[in-house]
Symmetry: C2
Subunit: 433 residues, 2 copies
């Protein structure tokens, strides 16, 4: 049963508990396993990759089966329905259109004394995309990771995804990859996939950045290889926080909460509402919609442990609680969502109004669905084209410009005890050398 | 003696060795210490902070001495020369002017059927800046970290820096802080400072992002707390790569290499040149400039271990080697640096021409001097205003717009086995609920 609480003091502790749900003690033990996998793949390459794929994914691959073949890629198109193909194509178009907007561009400014300053943007050489697999298939994850890399202009995008029973990769995933131009796909998941992308093996290339969500092993591996390669973020279980007023439809709100909870027994679904009747009706609707839910057990677990309805005094109070939680997804199911928006400081994605369920953003509205979880929205953002770009500062000084700042550089370098810094300037402006 | 090499095969191995110079085995042992410090500060707060400050920095502070007082801040202005104050102010103005350019702004687009999509940028609530201290003082680090935070609009910027002998913080550092509006400064460094900022103590506030360079303990601590808070990057020892042609002045090139080497015995200084005479002359000039260098021993160590001159066949070959190394600082001391620039794919900052020593960028040209090291320029960039900003995706759909995409969402959600995703859309477009 989805709990309803009112006490302000309890609320903060409860929200904190839910926000911290990934930081459990088990992580320490799992980290040892992940370190072992990383070391083995670093030292033994493909051999270790195949070993752990057999051990963790129960799929005994031959070396030549590691990479998905051209004929598998071709066949995938025959295995998806026309409706699904069109849905993937629609989503791809809308995601690409959104990501093409406001991409940072290189620039230089020309200042006094021929000083030139600027920023030059370039893509990474190689990106690795992790797509979860096994029993489930996530074509949307492929689109949300590959499209920003493509828009950034990354020359080589590599995908890894764990094989399911019979060594199979979901045709929907293979189609989504091809629709975004990704042809280089390896049948490997877990920490061993992250290790292969970070260090390279005989078969799998070392990349510069690894993106995409995964389970706790994948996330731990990403944290450990960070520094050797870049990563997008450390993704935890998904979460939604809904702020709703008395005009929200409880059946819709309940469906949105379950759409979050059905992802994972660790998923969180929180409703903050000013209306006691809505709270009660959502509670009832959740129970009702759970009755014949195909994923009832896992979904019920998430609702029981990390589901919560909070009765708040005002929408302002709701916004402030939401800022403390910094949700991955925030739905503003209120009459005037734009009036509340300025009060929202931290949220991965914000869904405004009664007819914007999170699912529209999960799949095809355009903005990225790879979003910061567990409070990370306090300091970071959705995966974006910028994730695959970096910039170099551009600096050009003329002799005249250098002359004018030589004294100031001397003062600063002397204060910092770095004499050759001064020297490198002074020798250039004294023309006697 | 600065080595000169020519063999292409050796070059890649040598550059790799220099690039990897931080990834030593000692790190594993240091990590255990850092974990202990993090845990202690997390559990015991200020008490642990004071304990480790006594143990590692040899400064026994009383609790009330942890925060720098108003009178110390005032006094600092009397302790710096007028020249230094003006240099700090000039640098601050130029850094701020550069960082104010092209700051991302919130936007929304209005599409068909009243769909609204956009991005809303907001600063982090609290930023923590680490400034190295002890025997040295780095007012430039203060400016380079505090100014982007200020331009981003961060409401609360906190600084930490380890106390030197007599519990003193450098007046230049205190002045630089005040010139950028930072008044909240704590006398703590090392892993204990990072822990305090990540978890908060009774005295030091928990922040959302920690930026700034430090020694290996600070860097390890930043990596471990990443996820609890954001970090700018994992900074290693500094490095410069210089591409020079026959018209470059060997005395200037030598000074630039020493300006890098004098930072740290682990610093790297690499010259790639097409001209054997320049190579020889730089080698001689480095020896000469080292003779009475105030930091001779450490600087010589850096030059001996991580200094290198490589004779290359062409500037194109130099650019390609530079891309493999992905240097923090790249100087193009060639006749037409803009002709080579398009070939440069990975570099933290690029200094163009004969009269742009790195020192001008280190202090006051404007671009940030906090840059990716050890090859991290392959995937990341200078500290910037964006480091302190994050964005929320904005999505609003109308009932009509939702109706049009309902079928596609159904296909995708069904492929992914997420029935409540479909449900959350279908219940909204069936008006019988």
């Amino acid at each position: 049963m989805l709990r309803i609480i009112t006490q302000q003091a309890d609320v903060k502790a409860e929200l904190q508990r839910i926000c911290d749900r990934t930081h459990d003690e088990q992580v320490v033990h799992k980290e040892a396993t992940v370190r072992e996998v990383l070391q083995a793949v670093k030292r033994q390459g493909d051999k270790a990759v195949l070993h752990y794929t057999a051990e963790f994914d129960n799929q005994t691959l031959k070396l030549e089966e590691l990479r998905v073949t051209g004929s598998e890629l071709d066949t995938a198109y025959q295995q998806v329905s026309q409706e699904l193909l069109q849905a993937i194509q629609l989503a791809a178009r809308q995601i690409e259109a959104f990501h093409r907007q406001r991409v940072p561009k290189s620039w230089v400014n020309f200042g006094e004394d021929d000083v030139v300053l600027g920023k030059r943007y370039t893509p990474v050489d190689r990106a690795g995309i992790y797509v979860p697999g096994g029993r489930a298939a996530y074509p949307s994850t492929v689109l949300m990771n590959a499209i920003p890399a493509k828009v950034a202009g990354v020359p080589r995008v590599v995908m890894v995804t764990p094989p399911g029973a019979g060594k199979v990769i979901s045709p929907a995933v293979l189609v989504a990859a091809q629709e975004t131009g990704v042809q280089e796909i390896y049948r490997v998941g877990g920490a061993q996939a992250i290790a292969a992308l970070a260090y390279g093996t005989e078969t799998i290339p070392k990349v510069n950045i690894i993106t995409g969500p995964g389970n706790i092993y994948v996330t731990l591996a990403k944290k450990l290889v960070y520094g050797t390669v870049g990563i997008d973020m450390l993704a935890g279980p998904s979460e939604v926080l809904i702020i709703a007023d008395e005009f929200a439809n409880p059946v819709h709100v309940a469906a949105d909460m379950l759409a979050q909870a059905e992802h994972d027994p660790m998923a969180a679904a929180i409703l903050l509402t000013t209306d006691p009747a809505l709270a009660k009706n959502v509670q009832v609707a959740v129970e009702r919609q759970l009755v014949d839910h195909p994923r009832r057990i896992d979904t019920e677990k998430a609702i029981a442990h990390y589901g919560l309805i909070v009765l708040v005094e005002s929408l302002e109070a709701a916004a402030e609680l939401s800022n403390e939680f910094a949700p991955e997804h925030l739905e503003l199911e209120v009459k005037d969502p734009w009036a509340i928006l300025p009060q929202i400081r931290h949220a991965g994605a914000i869904f405004l109004g009664y007819s914007t369920p999170e699912a529209v953003g999960d799949y095809l509205a355009g903005p990225n669905h790879t979003l910061p979880t567990s409070g990370a929205a306090r300091y970071t953002s959705a995966l974006s084209v910028e994730t695959f770009l970096k910039h170099s500062s551009i600096i050009q000084y003329s002799p005249t410009a250098l002359q004018k700042v030589a004294g100031a550089i001397d003062s600063l370098a002397t204060a910092e005890g770095l004499p050759s810094h001064t020297d490198s300037v002074r020798r250039r402006i004294q023309q006697d050398e």
